[in-house]
Symmetry: C2
Subunit: 216 residues, 2 copies
């Protein structure tokens, strides 16, 4: 792949890729550039040319890494999920029950700029997934993993006496998941319009309120 | 507008619009065609040509009604909101408190094919609204109206002793709204993949579970 990239660039007379390249590193640079561009210009404005420009790549230099915009987008979306899941693993480490549930939800909610930007990436992903079963499957799998985690935390919290609601855990997990997903929408749209509705401290209050309902 | 349409069509040699036309009616035909096409092909596949074909219009005949795809989309999205609000007005008519709240939420949740199709339209709308302050404002205004309605129902339900939660109504309204929005995502994506996760009777159970939490 490096060789192809090199020869392509030379044949086009643009700057050659250095001989020793960390290709995983460069893919992640492209992903970062991709979501900066999506956040700024929207998914339709995120052309391969714009992404290359943003990442400081020569135009043709993207092709060896991602032959099409769709392969790049899929990798970028997957990376958002992975990064969120890594952060979740970090913040829930060593926690169980209510403490783990709270940490999990706080990490998914768009409470800072980084996560608001992620919300601005996940909505275009959902839009594409509506007519793309492969992307819908990625979403599905992630959501099933999240529901399984939430259910485990709820079961532990019941054991500890922190959840007393007369509603079953499957239903509670579904409610929480939808609340977390819905929160992405308000935050992503508010970021563009300068409005604050749906984003910010209100979401943390909603989470605390919900956890309080479970304890009653 | 009718005159322009007529002369345009004649000059292009395609079928002329009949002399007596209900233009509002035709606009709604175009809206219906638009969301059938969006539901089938996605928003990127919804070209003016495809929409004209679906509606049985000659290609150039759309222009007098909607000069650009964006004007058509904005009208179509606005129509989805209006239709949902009309249905809400019908099902909540004469109801107050918990009964009105239940009826409102059941009407917004994607529990049948028509409303799943609306979910498949509202997600592309959100995606566009991320980078379009005018569309974000339409969303914002609708959500503020919905939150105001939910808060009124909650206040009435407290009066009647049906809500006893020690969480304030602002917070509860935000939770419910996000739950309703999040439910659109699962339903819209599940419809494409053939999966059932997030759609169907689970959502009605989630709503009943949440209303039960409020009463506890």
């Amino acid at each position: 792949m490096a060789h192809k990239s090199l020869s392509q660039n030379i044949s086009r007379g643009v700057a050659a890729v250095p001989k020793i390249v960390d290709h995983d590193e460069r893919r992640l640079e492209l992903v970062d550039a991709t979501w900066r561009i999506i956040a700024r210009l929207g998914i339709e404005g995120a052309t391969m040319r714009e992404i290359a420009l943003e990442a400081g790549f020569a135009n043709g230099a993207l092709k060896p890494y991602f032959p099409t915009k769709d392969t790049l987008l899929e990798f970028a979306f997957g990376h958002v999920f992975n990064r969120t899941n890594q952060r979740i693993a970090t913040v829930t480490d060593g926690k169980t029950g209510m403490a783990a549930l709270r940490a999990f939800c706080l990490e998914v909610l768009p409470l800072d700029e980084e996560r608001v930007n992620e919300a601005r990436i996940v909505i275009p992903f959902w839009q594409k997934a509506i007519n793309d079963p492969q992307k819908a499957e990625i979403h599905q799998q992630s959501m099933e993993d999240w529901v399984a985690a939430i259910r485990q935390y709820l079961a532990e919290a019941r054991e500890a006496g922190d959840v007393n609601a007369a509603v079953d855990d499957d239903t509670l997990a579904g409610q929480l998941l939808n609340m977390l997903l819905g929160a992405q929408i308000g935050a992503a749209l508010a970021a563009g319009s300068g409005a604050t509705f749906g984003a910010g401290p209100g979401l943390a209050d909603q989470l605390e309120g919900f956890l309080a309902l479970l304890a009653e």
